[in-house]
Amino acid sequence: MTAPVLEASFALNVALLLMLVVLAAAVVWTRSLLAAILLMSVYSLVSATWLMVMDAPDVAFTEAVVGAGISTIVALGAILLTRGEAVRVSWKRQVVPGLLAGLVGGLLIYAMSGLPDFGDPASPANSHVGRAYLETAKRDIGAPNVVTAVLGSYRGFDTLGETVVILAACIGVALMLGFGPRATLAPPAGAPGDHHVVLRVTAKMLVPLIILFALYVQFHGDLGAGGGFQAGVIAAVAIILHALVFGLRETTAAIPPQAARAVAALGVVVYAGVGIVCIVNGGGFLDYDHLLTPQIEAMIPAGLLGDPDKPHHWGQYFGILAIELGVLMTVSATMITIFYGFAGRTIDAIAAELRR
């Protein structure tokens, strides 16, 4: 029972993983934080590629937008506000950490011998619940992308928790950086003849296109890779681009920080609200089969989405649509809040804080 495709993808798997090891080693060695951050960004892109080889397009997409995108922006903002180089650590102080890491590594290597072989289709992990989803998702949920079905419905409660974690980060960053003396990140005022005209024109064209792409990713989630998280980050990137080119003052005039925080909270309300509606209609929390009352379901035209003969799980369909909307709101607003937090502080703000 050979699987001929394995050899080709396995070589790719090995090559990409070795690249990750090299990148990680470089991150360990370098003292320059800028280099470390950029290496981590490359690391994320390489691991996104690896995730594609592992048949995980949804995760690859998320890793690309989150790891290589927003994490890099946040980390760059942080070193801009702190410092760009780490102090050299003497070798004596590396011995104990080295031993500790070695201990954990040794335990892990010992443990790995008990894990099933790579790619084994009969391993416990691949034959119990994971396989059951593949068999039942079409019947229970109706979404072709099984990852979306599991994420939105079977394990929708996890995803609610995950959205709440994002909101917690929004609250945390806003508490830390959102108040006190603020910078405006204004473009150099009164610069004779605008040197950034190309940048401005391009940005003006790009922002709506990026938002459009975010919406595509949002609504394409149950058919292919994508969903609220990826779309939320992409939408936030459009706003961040606007702020970088036109200045924070312009952007906060359009989307005030308070509004961003409110949208982040409302996203969780939408998500949890779907759950509550299901309870009110007589189901359990997040049981989308009870999201729509029979009266409402009867009003939906049979051919609303393509084939009228195919039975549709309207509750599941609208439930996932609604929670993905909540996710989109929270994620995009949180990413914008985080960016505002870091971009809004400058050395001036720091000096003022120090004088206080």
Binding site: L18, D55, A56, T62, G67, D120, P121, A125, V146, G224
Partner: protein
Amino acid sequence: MSWIATHFNYVVVVILMMAGLFIVFSSGNLIKRMIGLALFQSSTALFYISFGKVSGGTAAITLDAQGAEGQALAAQLDPAYVAQFGVEGVVYSNPLPHVLILTAIVVGVATLAVGLAIAVRVRESYGTVESDEIDAVSRVAAEQAEPAP
């Protein structure tokens, strides 16, 4: 040798975990420690995804096995293998680890943002992000707070 082939991914995961942990434990720079933490967290993603891979599988987006794409995939595999491990004629990789890791990645970026925000506040309050210097500032402040003997 065959053990290396079947467990290569896990060995890499261990190396990445150790690298991340080593940075967190050895570095005194708060930003560098956050980077190490991000590396450590991301290695769990590789761990979970590795055991969700199925040989000859494809992404868990249900295909029509009779369609051209499904036929092309099936042609690459032994029919007996497909019959045993496939679902409606297509072999898929396990979607559950993917879902879990989507959550873990998002938790990772949330942690990173909060951690870096605290680091920035430390810099504003102490004037440095190196642990040794922070400790020194705290010690001096504590000594000044002591009443004169």
